[in-house]
């Protein structure tokens, strides 16, 4: 009891100004929180056929999300084929679980995730063989599409960014100039214009008859764009490594790539985990921009659903739901990165 009082006094009521602030903030919370809880939970409608079913209640119309959830998750992916998406994500989930169990060899699990898994996932998503019906990428959508774009974007832009960062610090002038040129051009252009270029202009330059997938083009655009940012984050880490580390590695006879792989990158990447995760999170949210080249990612499909005449007036619910899901993914990434940072701490 006494402890609580000292704590209260020290943290909330130490001066008249602090007491005043505490009281007014409590008052503000009292004004805001109850109506919010009312809206989200108490007065909300959870199931229904249309907006009309929600009208009797004052709260949120979660019936809208409930009715459309399949579409939010899979977009226009054919209903009969959706199990394929589920299977692919279930396998990925199992792989992740295996990765986090300390008893298995992480190296092997990550190798599985990076090499055979994407092929398997592609086979399941796109189909066209093994008796699976082809599902064109234009039918992919919803959270599924968002995760595909973010997953591929993150896994591809990270190594590419590292290579660009090394290139920028290379002693070979051609490699250095190319890296600097690429990074500076891409960083100086908005992602929207990169996506426009990838989807509208690129086909103009390709020979007739050659045409590759719109999703593929968006993926290349996003990956290249984020790798430029990643490169600069990684370069920051490389520059923080003392010269003595390079010299010690050189004097032992380690070559350039070995030195980078065993000595420099492990230390540099550890230093820049916050920046790297920052870029990952930015990439995750930037995937919503594929909306402007006509792809319906998670946000896109939610937005489209709000214009349904049956559900007019449910935009707020849609966006709140969307925001909550994005936040969940981004926050998980952030927490995981903190864990990795703590694990790699060597106390120096």
């Amino acid at each position: 009891m006494n402890q609580t009082r000292t704590w209260l006094y020290k943290n909330l009521f130490s001066t008249p100004l602090n007491s005043g602030l505490t009281v007014s903030i409590l008052y503000l919370l009292w004004l805001m929180i109850p109506p919010l809880i009312d809206w989200i939970f108490l007065q909300a409608t959870w199931v229904g056929e249309s907006r009309a079913d929600c009208l009797p209640n004052e709260g949120a119309c979660w019936a809208f999300v409930h009715a459309r959830i399949d579409q939010f998750l899979y977009g226009l992916y054919p209903v009969a084929e959706r199990w394929r998406v589920n299977v692919a994500f279930a396998i990925l989930f199992l792989l992740f679980v295996a990765f986090f169990l300390s008893t298995v060899r992480r190296r092997w699990v990550s190798a599985l995730i990076l090499l055979p898994y994407p092929l398997l996932a592609w086979l399941l998503f796109y189909g066209g063989s093994w008796g699976l019906e082809t599902v064109e990428t234009s039918q992919w959508g919803g959270l599924f599409l968002t995760l595909v774009i973010a997953g591929i974007g993150i896994t591809a832009s990270f190594p590419l960014g590292i290579l660009l960062a090394l290139g920028r610090r290379s002693e070979l002038i051609v490699i250095r100039s190319l890296s600097i040129g690429f990074i500076e051009i891409i960083r100086g252009v908005p992602l929207i214009s990169v996506l426009f270029m990838a989807s509208v202009m690129l086909p103009l330059f390709l020979p007739e008859g050659v045409n590759f997938d719109k999703l593929m083009r968006a993926l290349i655009g996003i990956t290249l764009f984020q790798s430029a940012y990643m490169a600069e984050v990684v370069r920051g880490g490389l520059q923080a490594i003392p010269k003595g580390q390079f010299e010690a590695a050189e004097s032992l006879g380690l070559g350039y790539w070995r030195t980078m792989q065993k000595i420099i990158l492990p230390q540099a990447l550890k230093l820049v985990i916050p920046g790297v995760v920052n870029t990952f999170i930015a990439l995750f949210k930037d995937t919503t921009l594929v909306l402007i080249i006509g792809m319906f990612d998670f946000l896109g499909i939610v937005q489209a659903a709000t214009t349904d005449p049956k559900w007019l007036g449910t935009a707020v619910e849609g966006y709140v739901f969307c925001a909550a899901v994005y936040w969940l993914f981004c926050f998980s990434m952030s927490r995981y990165s903190l864990r990795v940072e703590r694990k790699l701490d060597r106390g120096h």
Binding site: S251, L252, G253, Q267, G347
Partner: protein
């Protein structure tokens, strides 16, 4: 005739306009131990860093164990494999354990199987009396211990030549001895060594030849008794007067 391990002929080096090394001539034969001293900025470190090409010389020839140092990366890597180097600030790899620090080069440069590299690493850690710390990280060791690990790391490549660049300058006084003891032992076993240091007691016991450098030149090169008793040049006398 004794084999020449290091031969420097007319070596010159510039940092931009600054002439750091001026016509250096030096021959070290197998098993010889050279100690280099001189005021700071005299080019001592630069000279020994040229021997494993951490610094590039612009004129003259450096031949190490029969391999001439040129732009050829093959030659440079060949030389580095035979030359170990100990730095003033140890330069251990902080993200690896002591054992991993020592095993790294034998594993990836000499391509030894893991078990063999492990055995060898433990053997050399034992020699510098630090094998009980093998699983710690460098950050958990004292300066003297870290420098001994660095020596074990160098030795684990079984080099023919060891270069020491002020190995005790960054250490607290009470840790200097443990490092010098290891170096003395090494010298007594017949390792070819070049050592930049101001530990004159150490120099007197182990050196076959003392070198005094000033302003990028080798001013004096003579056996230790002669060097300390009757230095030829006035500059050497002056310097010894200050540090002894």
């Amino acid at each position: 005739m004794a084999t020449k391990m290091i031969e420097m002929r007319g070596v010159n080096k510039w940092f931009d306009d600054f002439h750091v090394l001026k016509d250096i001539d030096l021959t070290v034969t197998k098993g010889e131990r050279f100690v280099i001293c001189g005021p700071s900025g005299s080019g001592k470190s630069t000279m020994i860093r040229c021997i494993n090409r951490l610094e590039e010389h612009q004129k003259g020839q450096i031949i190490v164990d029969g391999i001439e140092l040129t732009d050829d990366l093959k030659n440079i890597e060949g030389v580095r494999r035979e030359v170990g180097m100990i730095f003033q600030h140890f330069n251990l790899f902080p993200h690896l354990t002591i054992l991993e620090n020592v095993m790294l080069a034998p594993t990836w440069v000499r391509k030894l199987p893991r078990r063999e590299a492990h055995e060898k690493a433990m053997y050399y850690l034992d020699r510098v009396k630090i094998s009980d710390q093998a699983l710690k990280f460098p950050g958990q060791l004292s300066g003297g211990q870290q420098q001994r690990v660095a020596i074990a790391r160098g030795l684990c490549m079984e080099p023919k030549i060891m270069l020491f660049d002020e190995p005790t300058s960054a250490l607290d006084p009470e840790m200097i001895k443990e490092v010098l003891d290891v170096m003395t032992e090494l010298a007594e076993e017949g390792m070819t060594m070049i050592c930049v240091t101001h530990e004159m007691g150490f120099a007197k016991t182990v050196a076959d030849c003392m070198i005094f450098m000033d302003q990028g030149k080798i001013v004096e090169c003579s056996p230790p008794n002669e060097f300390f008793e009757s230095p030829k040049s006035e500059r050497t006398q002056q310097f010894l007067g200050q540090i002894l």
